[in-house]
Amino acid sequence: MDRPHSGPAGPARTGGAAVTASQGTTKIAEARDLVLSFGSTPALRGASLSVQKGEIVAVMGPSGSGKSTLLHCLAGILVPDEGEAWYGGQRLDTLSDDKRSALRRDRFGFVFQSGQLVPELTAEENVALPLLLSGTRRGPAMTAARKWFAALGLDGLERRRSGELSGGQAQRVALARGLVTGPEVLFADEPTGSLDSVSGELVMNLLTAAVREQGTTVVLVTHDARVAAYADREVVVRDGKVSTLTGVQP
């Protein structure tokens, strides 16, 4: 069931999003006291996080701390056992599967550690895939996809399949796929985790340049401080909770 978003600090609503009046920033996503267990193993134990529109937030923490689970809850991929996940004035965790899928498809972009490109498709078809899945005709979808190749230094690789790309190239194709729909939020889970430092730096430079230009909000899960340094701020997840010190709002 949908209901109006009202943040802890009592923000006023404009359109679908909540505005923190004191700072003039717009809250776009929020996790409130999320609890989630996988079987008997707790992953989140009351995790809370607010993400402002247009910011890049790095979510850091040791392996198994719950940082990826938190990202999946904010992105509507997982539904918490307790607590609330909000997106743009809409409560995510009470939406139907179909509505959450539509939201993910229409508003969110995703980049994961290994590009997870579809091996049977060419690079440009992989980039166009989110558009094709949301009903865009093939011609316009491919045209939109090809625009990203120059922007990400991938000229000439449009027809290659994932097996014919280097790790860094494949990850840039995955980044293009995550951004091709012009998402409001890009969820990136260890986007450079499988790359060497030089390739990782290139991906992060391109990622941050592209999202700044598009005004895309980014939730970036990483254990790598050098990657987190591209973000506007970082939070640390420890034992399923966001550290209160680092979770303080900007």
Partner: protein
């Protein structure tokens, strides 16, 4: 680590004979990083290098302004530069760093070491953000220097995370 000024100036001299003014300008541009050499330091160093046979001072040249003479590196000076460049710089284990001392004392005194580590992590990451931003618009030398600082900060951060994960064990080790 502090850069050896005499050896660095000798290294710059190996490119060709130079005036003190030019050496200072190049040193400041490449290695100064906001801490330029004083002219007096440059000329005192060059005098010492000349006294020790590492460089030779040419005749005073006609012209206005400060002392105008070129310095030329000697074979002994070039050998010093070659030897210096071939030697590894001493690894700096920083065994008595302030970070270490604060964590140990916090644990000894029953203070919240995890909070200190969180504050330190945030400060390190803030500095890494500044350096990352510096790289964005920087020339290749600035990028190289910023990367060096970033990797050193990263090493501290890894230690901070490693330590944060073992505070219980460490706490027991320092309790009397």
């Amino acid at each position: 680590m502090v850069v050896s000024v005499p050896l660095t100036l000798l290294g710059l001299l190996e490119r060709g004979p130079s005036h003190g003014y030019d050496l200072k300008r190049d040193y400041d541009a490449y290695f100064g990083q906001g801490r330029p050499l004083r002219y007096s330091q440059v000329y005192a160093t060059l005098s010492r290098l000349a006294r020790d046979g590492k460089a030779v001072a040419g005749p005073v040249e006609q012209g206005a302004g400060p002392e105008r003479r070129r310095y030329i590196i000697t074979e002994g000076g070039a050998a010093d530069v070659e030897r210096w460049l071939a030697e590894p710089a001493p690894p700096e284990p920083d065994l008595q760093s302030e970070l270490f001392a604060k964590v140990v004392l916090a644990l000894m005194l029953g203070r919240p070491a995890d909070s200190y580590l969180d504050i330190q992590r945030a400060a390190h990451l803030q500095r890494m953000r500044e350096l990352t931003e510096l790289k964005r618009a920087g020339d290749p030398l600035t990028v190289l220097l910023a990367d060096h600082s970033i990797y050193r900060l990263e090493a501290d951060l890894r230690w901070i995370d490693h330590t944060a994960a073992r505070l219980d064990l460490l706490g027991r080790a320092v309790q009397r």
